[in-house]
Subunit: 77 residues, 2 copies
């Protein structure tokens, strides 16, 4: 199975969600991308359909938006 990508932007909501997701899915199954620091990944995240962070993109390419932290537009600014 392709790895799941966890997108976040370092906000407290994201950090808390990250711990939960690691517990649930396992760190070894997860790629963690900080869009605030890895800004070149923002376009790819948008291509997957990520509208806000934190969000998971599954191995099949489906997006699960988790709790509501920040919109992609806010990260861009």
């Amino acid at each position: 199975m392709e790895k799941t990508i966890f997108y976040h932007a370092g906000c407290p909501v994201c950090r808390s969600a990250e711990e939960e997701v690691i517990d649930l899915i396992g760190k070894e199954n997860l790629i963690v991308v900080h869009l605030g620091e890895q800004r070149e990944q923002i376009g790819k995240a948008e291509t997957f359909g990520v509208k806000s962070v934190p969000a998971l993109v599954t191995g099949k390419g489906n997006v699960l938006h988790i709790n509501y932290g920040a919109s992609i537009e806010e990260i861009k600014n």
Copy 2:
């Protein structure tokens, strides 16, 4: 580890999230609760802090709200 509970209300957003969550976590690690049909579980979900469905409550009792389907208040009506 305690099982994770997936709360939903049968809406299309919930169904799609359910498939993803089962893929990610594994059906054997998940208790699925349909709050539209198991209305006696609504109070317990609220106690955990569930504000909308679909949502996951982890074994530690933390809530992850996923995508946005319906608020608990809407299910009550």
